[in-house]
Point group: C2
Chain length 415, copies 2
C-alpha cells in the first residue's frame, strides 16, 4: 500500500515526539508499505518566526513572510529524516521545490496548481520514506508560497490524490472527530466514521480537526481520510464518501468562539448597499460569515449585521468607518463577546423539526439566540459567548446522547 | 557601481542589528549603486539547529544536516528584505535555488560549480536590492548543500566574481585585519591593505577574519575585498593583489589555539607507514596540518607527530588505535594543550634571518618551541597553549612595533 501520513506541529514539537512519530512510521514501513510523510512546523516555530518579523515591521510583505515561515517545515522534515535514519530506515526529506508542489502566486494563501511527482516517485522507487514539507509550495517562477491555515492537511490530501495513495492519515493531538468538544461537553463521543459533507460543515463551523480545503480536496478525489492521535494507538475517525452507518438527525455539535458581530444601522435603503459593504471587505480579504439584513426603524432605512473572525474585527471596523459617507449609514457597532453554536447532520435534510427542537433546547437552557443561519445539513445560531458551552451541552443532550452516534470536534493545531 | 556586501551572523543577530545593517544598505543604495547582499544565519541559529539534530542522532546524515542548517540563512534574508522594505527600499530575498548557486554534491563541504545569475540580474534590473543566502547551494539535481566554514564569505566573493561586481565588502564584528589579535597583543594595529597571499597564509593559520577559500577565490578573480565592521564607520582593510605599501619582513602575527598534537612512536621503519596513516585520516575527512617525521630510538623504528583540529582529536585517536596492527606502531599519545604561533610576511621570501630572529625572540620570552613548519611567506611554531599569547607579543614587538605596518587578526563569527 502507498500511505500518506501527516503529522501536525504538536506531534513533532520536540526530539522526543519526533522519535515517537518516527517509530510509528517505521512500524508501518516495516510492514512493506510505501510511505510519504507530510509535516507541519514544530510547535511554536511559526509563532516565533512571525514574532521575529513583527519586531522589524508591522506590515511585512507576504512574499517575504512565506520565505520566512517556510523554514519551519523544512526544519521538521530534516529532523524527521534524521530520526528515521537513526532507526535504520532509509528516508529523505524534500521541501516544496524538491517535491514539485506548484501553487498559485497568492502568497500566504496559495492554491495548488499541480504536483510534479517525478522526484517523489523516484525516491519511493529507491524504497525511501519520503518526508515532505507541508503548508508550502512554489510558484511557476520558483518563489516560495504558503497555503494558509490548515495547509499541511491540504498538502497531505493533495499528495495522496496525486500519488493515488491508498489512504491518507492525519495524525494530530486528538483521537479523532467527536460529537462535541469533550472539554465543553463531557458526554461527547468519538465517531468511527463521518461523511465528507458533514465534516465540511463542521470544518466551516470552527471545529478544527481538519481544515475545510483539505476535506473538499479529499471529497473531490475520493481520498479516505483517517484522523487519529499521534500519542495513542486508538483507531481514529474515517472521513469518507458515505458513512456506512445510518445518517443521524444530528451527528455533531460545534462551537466557534472566534467570531465577532458587526452591526451597521440606518443604511440608506437604496439598491446596492450590501454589495458596497461586502465588496469593500472582500477587497481587503476579510471573510464574512453569517449575514442578516433587516428593515430598520424607518421604511427608507435598513440594518445589516454580519460576523467576521475576531482577528479581522479591528480592520473591518476601520474600513467601514473610513467609508461611512460612501456606504451612507448612520451608526455602526460591534460585539466580540459572541459565539457560533451549530448542529450538523446529514439526516437533517429530510427532517424539518430539527430547528424547532434546537431552539427549544436552547431556550430551556436559558440561552438567548441573537442570529440564525441554516444550510441543508446544519443550523447555526449566534449566542453570547458565555452561553456557548451551556448551549452545546443542551444540544448534545437533545440530539446525540439519546441516540447511538453523532459528530463534533475539539480544537487542534492549525497548520 | 555594483556592490556585493556580506553581513555575518553577529551583524544580523537580532532585529535591532538587522535594522542597523538595513540602514547602511539603504544609504549605499540611495547613492545609485546596485546592491547584492549576502547573509549568514543569525547569531546562534546554526548552533541551535545542530543541537536539535544532536538530540535525535549523534551521526545525522550530511544531506539532512544541510537541509536543516540552510534554513538559518533563509530566515536572515527574509528578515533583511522585510527590514529594507520597511525603510521604503525595494528588496527581494533569494535562497540558493532561486539565486542559481550550483555546487558539487559534497554535503557540508560543497564547492561552487557555477552561478546561474539570470534571476539575480532580472531582480537588479528591476532596481531591487537582492538579498541572498550565504553558505549554501544546490546540486544539479536540486538537493541543498552547504559550503562549510566561512561559506558565506565565499558565497559573497563568488557572486562578486559571477556578477562582475566593482567591490565586495565583508561586514563583520571587527574593524578589519590587525597585525595581531588585539585581545592578546595590546599594541596590535589595523592594516589599511594586505595582499591576497599574506591574507591566505593568515587565514590558514587560524586568523578568522576571512576564510581561506574566499581569499583564494578573490585572488583568482582579482576581486577587491574590503573587511570592515558593521558596528562602526571605520574604513576597514582592503585585501588585493599587491599592497601599495612596501612589503614588510613580517606583516602579521597569528595564534591558532584550535590545534592538538598526535604522536605515534616506534613505527616499523618500512616504506609507506606515513602514507598508511594519512590515507586513513583523509578517508575519514580529518585534515592534518603540521607533520614532523623523525628517526626514533632504534634505527628500524621511526616517530611521526602531526597536528589536527581539537574537534577531530578523539576521532583521530580512535581510528589510529583501531588500526594499530595495520599501521604497526608501538605507542600513541596526544596533547591538546598546544597552540600554533605564526609570523607572516610577503617580505620574508627574500630574507633568511627571520626564522632565527623569531626563535631568538621566543627564547628570550621563555617560550619553548615544540615543532616548526615553514612556507615561503610564513613561519609557524607549536608552543604550549599557555605560552601562545606571550609568544605573540614577543614576535609582534620584535617584527612589527619597530616598523610602520603589519598584519594579524582577531576571532570572528564562522559562517
Amino acid at each position: 500500500m502507498l500511505i500518506v501520513q501527516k503529522f501536525g506541529g504538536s506531534s513533532v514539537a520536540n526530539a522526543e515526539r519526533i522519535k515517537r512519530c518516527a517509530g510509528r512510521i517505521k512500524e508501518c514501513y516495516d510492514k512493506g508499505n510505501a510511505m510519504v510523510i507530510v509535516l507541519s512546523a514544530q510547535g511554536d516555530t511559526t509563532d516565533d518566526l512571525i514574532e521575529k518579523a513583527r519586531e522589524i515591521s508591522q506590515t511585512p510583505s507576504r512574499r517575504e513572510m512565506d520565505m520566512l515561515l517556510s523554514t519551519g517545515e523544512q526544519i521538521s522534515v530534516a529532523l524527521m529524516s534524521i530520526a528515521l535514519q537513526e532507526l535504520g530506515v532509509p528516508a529523505v526529506s524534500l521541501n516544496a521545490v524538491q517535491a514539485g508542489i506548484v501553487t498559485t502566486a497568492a502568497h500566504s494563501n496559495a492554491r495548488f496548481k499541480k504536483i510534479k511527482t517525478e522526484r517523489i516517485i523516484a525516491e519511493l522507487d529507491k524504497k525511501n520514506i519520503v518526508v515532505i514539507t507541508g503548508f508550502q509550495g512554489i510558484t511557476e517562477s520558483g518563489d516560495i508560497t504558503t497555503l494558509g491555515r490548515g495547509g499541511s492537511d491540504t498538502t497531505a490530501v493533495a499528495l495522496a490524490a496525486s500519488l493515488n495513495a491508498d489512504i491518507c492519515e492525519i495524525y494530530t493531538d486528538v483521537e479523532g472527530v467527536f460529537t462535541a468538544d469533550p472539554r465543553a461537553v463531557r458526554t461527547a463521543r468519538k465517531l468511527d466514521e463521518i461523511s465528507y459533507d458533514e465534516m465540511l460543515e463542521l470544518a466551516c463551523l470552527g471545529a478544527k480537526v481538519l481544515e475545510k480545503r483539505s476535506v473538499e480536496l479529499a471529497k473531490k478525489y475520493n481520498i479516505s481520510l483517517v484522523v487519529r492521535s499521534s500519542m495513542s494507538n486508538a483507531s481514529g475517525t474515517t472521513v469518507k464518501a458515505q458513512s456506512a452507518l445510518k445518517p443521524m438527525l444530528v451527528s455533531g455539535v460545534a462551537v466557534d468562539k472566534d467570531v465577532a458581530r458587526v452591526s451597521i444601522t440606518s443604511i440608506s435603503n437604496v439598491p446596492g448597499a450590501a454589495s458596497t459593504i461586502f465588496s469593500l471587505l472582500a477587497k481587503n480579504r476579510i471573510s464574512v460569515d453569517i449575514i442578516l439584513q433587516s428593515i430598520g426603524r424607518a421604511s427608507t432605512l435598513k440594518d445589516i449585521s454580519f460576523t467576521v473572525a475576531k482577528s479581522d474585527l479591528n480592520e473591518t471596523m476601520q474600513i467601514l468607518k473610513d467609508n461611512q459617507a460612501y456606504i451612507s449609514y448612520k451608526d455602526i457597532s460591534s460585539d466580540d463577546s459572541i459565539a457560533k453554536l451549530s448542529v450538523v447532520g446529514a439526516g437533517m435534510e429530510s427532517n424539518s423539526g430539527i430547528a424547532a427542537d434546537f431552539f427549544t433546547a436552547l431556550s430551556a437552557a436559558g440561552v438567548n439566540i441573537e442570529m440564525i443561519a441554516t444550510s441543508e445539513i446544519k443550523i447555526s445560531v449566534l449566542v453570547n459567548s458565555n452561553d456557548a458551552d451551556k448551549g452545546a451541552i443542551a444540544a448534545h443532550n437533545k440530539f446525540i446522547n439519546s441516540t447511538t452516534l453523532g459528530t463534533t470536534i475539539t480544537q487542534k493545531e492549525e497548520r
